[in-house]
């Protein structure tokens, strides 16, 4: 039983990261109807920026905040510079540009900071929380920070004018434009937020998986799986999906011997395909009906 609880908690901790990535993916999907395949590499790049700041002697939380701000601005700039010119291009062009960005971020990180694996510090003490043996303090911290971030985002979308304008721009760009919402900038804002959320997820997972240019490939896949399981157009669903995927992944890895650690990525693959085929709208997403 202890093992079971331990694995569920560990799954929730990883799930917190997947939820973060899934949320970032959904933020952009809602706004432009595209999956950002570069989300993982953007988060990885942000984490490297944090690492560089920490190496330069900045205290952890200052570097944390600075990275989030830089990532936000970076995401904003990406939308304005790279994606605005092709906003009406077909879906394939978008996918190709996403893949291009993925390749650029991945190799630039290796080029600037080298491909060697680097340890990344955790802001949380290494002593177990309240002397428990079930879950590490960093894991609790991961869940905690993710939940705080989600609460902030919820408040932002629910109670601020900008949040409302962003929701309007995503739901119905034409009407939003008519009532004076600057739809283009709302998109850019969405990109900025997604980049910032990704940066937080990257900095939280880096102490667990270590920092290297390819660290996010698997995590992005789980993030996508979370977004799909929860419903690609539902932020709350994405978070739920992320946690679910974390727990499912850990339990299957522990209790099904032939899956173990080796086939964990395939679990995400199967999850994505099964959910897309059986219930494309996910747990909490809305079915999209298109008129032909």
């Amino acid at each position: 039983m202890d093992l079971f609880i331990q694995q569920v908690l560990a799954g929730l901790a990883n799930g917190a990261i997947y939820a973060g990535v899934a949320l970032a993916v959904v933020m952009i999907y809602q706004a432009i109807d595209h999956f950002n395949f570069a989300q993982g590499e953007m988060a990885m790049f942000s984490t490297y920026i944090a690492w560089a700041m920490l190496n330069g002697g900045l205290p952890y939380w200052l570097a944390f905040v600075a990275t989030v701000v830089v990532s936000f601005l970076g995401g904003l700039a990406l939308e304005r510079i790279v994606f605005k010119p092709i906003q009406n291009a077909p879906a394939l062009s978008h996918v190709i540009v996403f893949i291009g960005l993925l390749a650029i971020f991945n190799s630039m990180a290796g080029f600037i900071w080298e491909f060697t694996i680097k340890p990344f510090p955790s802001p949380f003490p290494s002593a177990p929380l309240f002397g428990n043996t079930l879950i590490g303090t960093h894991q609790v911290g991961m869940i905690g920070v993710t939940l705080i971030m989600l609460a902030l985002i919820w408040v932002f979308f629910r109670y601020t004018d900008t949040g409302l304008a962003m929701r309007a721009a995503a739901a119905n760009p034409d009407s939003a434009r008519l009532v004076g919402v600057r739809v283009g900038w709302m998109l850019a804002l969405g990109w900025g937020l997604a980049a910032a959320i990704g940066a937080v997820a990257g900095m939280l997972i880096a102490p667990v998986v270590f920092l290297e240019p390819n660290m996010m490939a698997g995590i992005l896949l789980y993030g996508f799986a979370g977004a799909i399981v929860g419903g690609a157009n539902s932020p709350a669903g994405a978070v739920l999906g992320g946690f679910l995927v974390g727990v499912i992944e850990n339990l299957l890895g522990t209790f099904v011997p032939w899956i173990g650690n080796e086939l964990k990525l395939s679990v995400a693959l199967v999850l994505i395909i099964v959910v897309l085929v059986v219930r494309p709208s996910g747990l909490m997403g809305q079915r999209v009906v298109s008129r032909v």
Partner: protein, 347 residues
């Protein structure tokens, strides 16, 4: 004679450039290209011959992707998986069952045909982006699947399998590299010819009609589900044969050669050459094979850049090209030619 009259109405027969019709130009280019390809192994070093063999292998794989994405409109970010299946089929047949290398190609192709068809079936329900996502997942999961313990006896696990380099048959006066080049060229020509015929047939028109307007295609009586699944299969067949050839020319397969970045490599080649183009696949193959050398060369020119870091820059160059092509020539090099041509031809 009625047929001839009909054929004469095609633009390629009517339009002229420097005194020759476009159809004549096409044959001229083809003849020139073939002559160059045939003469090549006698003019360059063995390593360069190997590189051009690699070009052909990539070109075949990219052609598979073009058939699927360019002509049928289905995205795939997972063609590295089919390349891997083809490569491993060839390697396992040669290593464990001592099958001669040329027999592994049809088998690898057929296995990929069915693998692609089976993956294409659920993919039918996935429109555009979701298909990109599912195939992305396939590509990311592939190396892990290849390392799986239960099949380690066959696949060689993380170590992979090392193969023998085939010798030329009938005591032909060729080096091994030259023979492999001609062998690949022969297979490639056959496959390109088939693809050309496929695209210009009734089936090919159906495949393209589905891309342009699936609902109208269905109204015309095209079984879209079957066509899409089989196009996926045929596309996987091409990439699978390329994978088998790749294993034969490199004489080595290992899980970490088939990561997601291999799928990106195919995408780069496809986009640069022109995604709705058959000869474009050859440009694509040349591009992805030789850009790493060129970009490394350039990067090492920058003072203070270590060799290790310069290697990493290749992917930045690929990425920049991907984005640049989408901005200036979304139809790739082939599309650019197609666009410029009308300015120079006259009736």
């Amino acid at each position: 004679m009625a047929n001839d009259a009909q054929a004469r109405r095609e633009p390629a027969d009517v339009l002229h450039f420097a005194g020759l019709t476009l159809r004549q130009w096409r044959w001229l280019w083809l003849a020139l290209g073939l002559a160059t390809a045939a003469a090549l192994p006698w003019t360059v070093s063995n390593f360069t011959v190997f590189q051009f063999t690699q070009v052909l292998v990539y070109a075949i794989a990219i052609l598979g992707l073009n058939l699927l994405t360019g002509f049928n409109g289905q995205f795939s970010l997972g063609h590295s998986a089919f390349y891997a299946i083809g490569a491993y089929t060839a390697a396992i047949l040669m290593f464990h069952l001592k099958v001669p290398y040329f027999w592994t190609l049809p088998l690898a192709g057929v296995i990929c045909l069915f693998a692609g068809f089976l993956f294409g079936l659920p993919a039918l329900r996935l429109e555009g982006l979701y298909l990109a996502l599912a195939t992305f997942a396939l590509a990311v999961a592939t190396p892990q699947l290849l390392k799986y313990k239960a099949v380690e006896h066959w696949t060689g696990g993380v170590q992979g399998l090392t193969l023998k380099k085939p010798s030329p048959p009938f005591d032909l006066p060729l080096s091994k590299d030259q023979w492999l080049y001609y062998f690949t060229l022969l297979v490639g020509l056959l496959l390109f010819w088939c693809a050309w015929n496929l695209v210009h047939s009734r089936t090919g028109r159906a495949i393209q009609a589905i891309r342009d307007n699936p609902i109208a295609a269905r109204t015309m009586g095209i079984n879209t589900a079957m066509y899409k699944s089989w196009t996926f299969g045929v596309s996987a067949f091409y990439t699978g044969v390329a994978g088998a050839l790749g294993a034969i020319i490199i004489q080595f397969v290992a899980p970490d050669s088939f990561t997601f970045f291999l799928a990106v490599l195919f995408l780069v080649g496809s986009v640069v050459g022109g995604i709705v183009s058959i000869p474009g696949a050859i440009f694509g193959g040349i591009f992805v094979t030789f850009i790493p050398n060129i970009s490394e060369e350039l990067a090492t020119q920058i003072p203070g850049v270590a060799e290790e870091a310069a290697k990493g820059l290749t992917w930045t160059v690929y990425g920049l090209f991907l984005i640049l092509i989408i901005y200036v020539a979304p139809a790739g090099l082939a599309g650019l030619l197609r666009m410029l041509l009308p300015r120079f031809v006259r009736r």
